[in-house]
């Protein structure tokens, strides 16, 4: 009880700014050497990235970047970083990017927290399924609601943040900033279950802004519980299994494919934090799925090789991590070196 009271106090103390960073409790973590590939993404002249909140590769190594530009846009690049095409230009579901992920069949899933929608594109770029429902424009401009969120609905999302799938194709959505839950749908989009609710909480199975999600090959679900400065693990039925709270503020998670899966979590460092936070946050942890820390890499910085602020990672190859940075409007490809 004492411990949970203490953690409540920590949450309250860290409430300003809203998601203040936490120095990781893990000590003496080995540094993993790495380099950032120079000039990785080659944008055509006159095209720009905005906040590069989301990155994901497909099985061919093509990279999808979902970013907050003048309008929110989804770009595809080849494995060398050459621009290929734009997907979903003018799409009704594109308003404020948050995540993009590619499933094992190379379908592209965009999560938009402005329209409260998750949109599935097939590899050709056609919309094949949508989840959630965009609030209708007919209401005109509305004042931003304050106070507690209304009860979470099975098929409506409240500023969702990320999406993942288990080997059966069940869909897991972290939802999000308004609701604080993880929802499980079957592969056809039918609601199965949720953990958490529209309310925040600090107990296992409760969230404060679940901000990223990943699923391993056994169907276990890893959730970046950002506002609670922890990562939560659930089994396939969304029953709490473990809490990893020694890696700072888990902003985003990634689980690599392959026979030996690794878990990555970023203790990202945003602007607006107290002076000094650059010195002890911003790093990414490489872990075993059971939470054992293997090492860490990276640090807060605006220059290449540093992070400002990692919002999402791709780890299809666990030694080549692609990161999207929200506050440097940038995508970096990192080559991790064996020690």
């Amino acid at each position: 009880m004492q411990r949970s009271l203490a953690s409540v106090a920590v949450v309250i103390l860290s409430a300003v700014p809203v998601f203040a960073q936490a120095k990781a409790k893990a000590q003496n973590v080995p540094e993993i050497p790495y380099e950032s590939v120079p000039n990785f993404l080659k944008l055509p002249t006159g095209m720009y990235l905005g906040e590069a909140v989301a990155v994901a590769t497909n099985s061919k190594g093509h990279l999808f970047v979902y970013h907050r530009s003048g309008n929110t846009r989804l770009f595809e690049f080849d494995e060398k970083g050459n621009y290929v095409r734009e997907i979903g230009e003018g799409l009704y579901g594109f308003e404020f990017a948050h995540s993009v992920r590619v499933d094992p069949q190379d379908n592209i899933w965009a999560v938009d927290e402005g329209t409260n929608m998750v949109i599935k594109f097939n590899p050709a770029g056609k919309v094949v399924m949508v989840l959630g429902h965009r609030p209708e424009a007919v209401g005109g401009p509305l004042a931003t609601p304050t106070g507690p969120a209304p009860p979470a609905e099975k098929y409506l999302l409240g500023r969702p943040t990320d999406v993942g799938w288990d080997p059966q194709g069940n869909i897991f959505i972290s939802d999000g900033y308004v609701n604080h839950r993880v929802v499980k749908y079957d592969k056809d989009g039918r609601f199965l279950k949720q953990v958490g609710s529209e309310k925040t909480g600090t107990e296992p199975g409760q969230f404060n802004t679940p901000h990223g999600i990943a699923v391993d090959l056994k169907g276990n679900v890893y959730v970046a519980d950002r506002g609670n400065n922890r990562l939560q693990v659930f089994d396939n039925n969304l029953v709490p299994k473990a809490v990893y709270d020694n890696i700072g503020t888990s902003w985003t998670v990634c689980v690599s494919p392959g026979p030996h899966q690794y878990l990555f979590s970023s203790n990202s460092n945003p602007n607006g934090n107290t002076p000094g936070s650059w010195d002890n946050t911003g790093e990414i942890y490489k872990m075993e799925l059971d939470g054992t820390i293997i090492g860490k890499f990276g640090h807060a910085a605006k220059t290449l090789g540093g992070f400002q602020v990692v919002h999402m990672m791709d780890c299809r190859n666990p030694n080549e991590i692609i990161v999207g940075e929200i506050e440097s409007w940038r995508v970096q490809k990192l080559l991790l070196k064996a020690k």
Binding site: G88, V130, R134, P135, A137, L142, Y155, G158
Partner: protein, 382 residues
């Protein structure tokens, strides 16, 4: 393999019976054609509010897509965009876009094609009915778009979520009035402001969130009006206001969100009175004749032209619930249910908040879905 697919689809139909069953009506076997509309690269459908065919079999789709936009600056906010009108030929090949950037295109609600192949668009947000001739030129306008959107001073918690539901949902008591009140009471409203208090059914030639349009054999125009103002308005074929009937309520001749309209060959007017879970039938002067209360909450309605007339009615699921309703009923014009098909869902042959039914021939339907951002072409095998 083919046999297997056949068995599988039969199994799905059987599953549909159990879940969607409401009145013991027989299930109608049906197919949904693969890729009925072929979109060019980088053209996307959003929520399909309306789908309608003309006499050549061309398909018109009025869809909520792009970015509904409010221009900032000053104390008024100006709304633009958010919907597009596309035309496809009968093979599904993309033909063209009509009305790109049109002032009245904001939130698609319906599209219908009249017997002369004019294309009529109903926009719920601009509260306008726009008639295009077959070439795509604007021929007639009913209603007027509000000049500006009112900027709210504040809202209670959950207001955004209430708005998030929207769709084909009947507004909860009062909620529709609030939304309509934006136009009804807003000093900023240049068009919707003249329609009287929401739900009062004021006889007027302007609308508050209209939902559908239909015509009788003489070309008189009927408008379902709508979410804000629960009434039916009648105009002559030249757009001159004739009369209006109904207001918000549950009595005969009253409505709770009239959401769809159809007129039969005799000139009877069928109103999908969604919030009251019934279809009301009137003569062309608005005299109540009968009502059907056995088909759920009707959101979309269609009567095929021709000698033998029937009625298709969708008991559409609201966007936040995929686990109930969603089936489409076939009735005769006396209200007897002949059969039903489909259920709510995201797969082919399932429906996500059907907002529109086109039934130019009795067994070939197009349905437009809000929830699934698509048009399905259905072939019935009754």
């Amino acid at each position: 393999m083919k046999h297997f697919l056949k068995v599988l689809s039969c199994a799905l139909v059987v599953a549909g019976i159990r879940i969607g069953a409401q009145s013991g009506a027989p299930d109608i076997r049906f197919d949904s054609g693969a890729e009925p509309l072929k979109l060019p690269a980088n053209v996307y459908l959003g929520e399909v509010a309306g789908a309608a065919t003309n006499s050549k079999g061309d398909v018109f789709v009025y869809t909520r897509t792009g970015h509904p936009t409010v221009t900032l600056g000053g104390a008024r906010a100006f709304a633009h965009g958010g919907s597009r009108l596309f035309q496809f030929d009968k093979t599904g090949k993309y033909v063209r876009e009509i009305g790109q950037g049109l002032y009245g295109f904001e939130q698609a609600q319906q599209v219908r094609v009249d017997p002369q192949d004019n294309v009529w668009v109903v926009d719920q947000m601009s509260s306008m009915i726009i008639k295009f001739d077959p070439k795509g030129e604007v021929q007639l306008l009913l209603g007027r778009k509000a000049e500006a959107e009112r900027i709210p001073a504040g809202a209670p918690a959950g207001a955004g979520a209430a708005n998030a539901k929207g769709g084909a949902l009947p507004p909860p008591p009062g909620a529709g009035a609030d939304k309509g009140g934006k136009g009804g009471a807003a000093p900023a409203g240049g068009g919707r402001g003249r329609g009287g208090p929401p739900g009062a059914g004021q006889a007027s030639d302007v609308f508050q969130r209209p939902t559908d349009v239909a015509w009788d054999a003489a070309g008189n125009i009927y408008v379902a009006d709508g979410y804000g103002n629960s009434r039916i308005a009648k105009f002559d074929k030249n757009g001159k206001f004739v009369k209006s009937w109904g207001s918000r309520g549950t009595e005969q001749g009253q409505f709770n969100t009239p959401h769809g309209l159809a007129v039969d060959a005799q000139g009877n007017v069928y109103v999908a009175d969604m919030g009251n879970k019934r279809i009301q039938v009137f003569d062309g002067d608005g005299n109540f004749k009968t009502q059907f209360s056995n088909v759920g909450a009707p959101a979309a309605i269609c009567i095929p032209p021709g000698a033998r007339q029937v009625l298709y009615v969708s008991n559409s699921n609201p966007p936040e619930d995929l686990d109930a309703n969603g089936e489409i009923y076939k009735m005769d014009l006396t209200g007897k249910v002949l059969g039903k098909f489909g259920r709510a869902g995201k797969l082919m042959k399932e429906f996500g908040t059907v907002n529109s039914i086109d039934c130019r021939t009795e067994n070939d339907l197009y349905v437009g879905e809000i929830g699934n951002w698509r048009v399905q072409k259905l072939t019935l095998h009754p």
